[in-house]
Amino acid sequence: MPHKCTKCGREYRDGSTEILKGCESCGGKKFLYVKDSELHKDILEEKSIEEIAQETKEQVLEVRTVQKKEVEMYDRVETIRIVGPGSYELNIEKMAKGDERVISVGKEGVYNIDLLSFAKDSKKKRSKRK
């Protein structure tokens, strides 16, 4: 008994490990377990795979992959990220807000915080200049 991708209808044979990575054609993550006799029902009877799922009362199988959430630049805590020696990612929105420097190094979750830059009084600086 094969699996069918609910998005594009591509079939995978039973016990196939390929579906664990998602559908090869469309990247879909949901698969329906279909009986051999009903394998071509979606095309012959022009039914959507959801309809077949309702008819056969078979659970749609969802392949869950842990998605790595991409953190938006402006949500990040660091002003400068050192990717490697001589390679930097700068958070200019953070820089526009203040002089505080938080620098993250290499792997995720390692930060250097320039405490002195946090301690500076910007108002004092402004009055000094006048």
Binding site: M73, T79, I80, V83, P85, G86, S87, Y88, E89, L90, N91, I92, E93, M95, A96, K97, G98, D99, R101, S122, K125, R126, R129
Partner: protein, 217 residues
């Protein structure tokens, strides 16, 4: 006698500080911002040469040539109708969100040099943003009109400048190049005046000066 000089000196100092308080604000500090290699220093040099005869800094094809902000003070620009504006020009390092030394290797720099350049450029961006926060009264935002203006950096920077309520002039540079498309920049930032120029060849800079008097005067 000494007491006299001391008092005289003090009075003089007070008087001059009083004068400068009245007249200082008239000088507008204009920052030239933009992505690396847009031609910021070339324009700063042109403005300085046209009106004072000096230069601001060296230029090169390698991105991040300017890694420290440079200032040229007291530039008096006069327009065709007699209007003038006195400005300080601040040429800033190119603002970008990613600096990688590999980029410089293609220009023939050796690895150590490139890594130092990347570090200095990173400091430069921080310094440029510091100027923007603290000490800039108006911005010339410079873009290379041969490149796509819809980059995140540009949108973000213009947003930051807008949020600080600074007057901004967008300059579409390098219009002398065959693949320049200043109209694309105009459509990207319809809310601001866009002036197409060639800061290297000096094409259309007169219009820029007129616009600077209008916007920053």
């Amino acid at each position: 006698m000494r007491v006299f000089y001391q008092t005289f000196g003090r009075v003089k100092k007070k008087f001059s500080s009083l004068l400068s308080r009245f007249f200082k604000k008239k000088r507008t500090r204009i920052g030239i911002y933009g992505p690396p290699n847009a031609g910021k220093t070339t324009l700063a040099n042109r403005i300085a040469r046209d009106w004072t005869g000096d230069a601001v800094g060296p230029v090169s094809e390698i991105p991040h040539e300017t890694r420290r902000s440079r200032k040229k003070e007291d530039i008096l620009i006069s327009g065709a109708n007699g209007a003038t504006v006195t400005i300080d020009i601040v040429d800033t390092p190119g603002v970008t969100t990613r600096i990688d030394y590999h980029e410089f290797l293609e220009f023939g720099l050796d690895k150590d040099e490139a890594i130092i350049r990347a570090r200095e450029a990173t400091e430069g961006v921080a310094e440029a943003m510091h100027w923007l926060r603290e000490d800039i009264d108006g911005v010339i935002y410079m873009l290379d009109s041969t490149l796509d203006p819809f980059l995140q950096v540009n949108i973000m920077m213009v947003g930051i400048i807008e949020s600080r309520n600074l007057p901004v002039l967008i300059v579409a540079n390098k219009i002398d190049l065959p693949n320049a498309a200043p109209a694309r920049i105009r459509s990207a930032f319809p809310q601001h005046p866009v002036i197409p120029i060639s800061s290297l060849g000096g094409k259309n800079v007169e219009e820029l000066y007129e616009m600077m008097i209008e916007r920053f005067g």
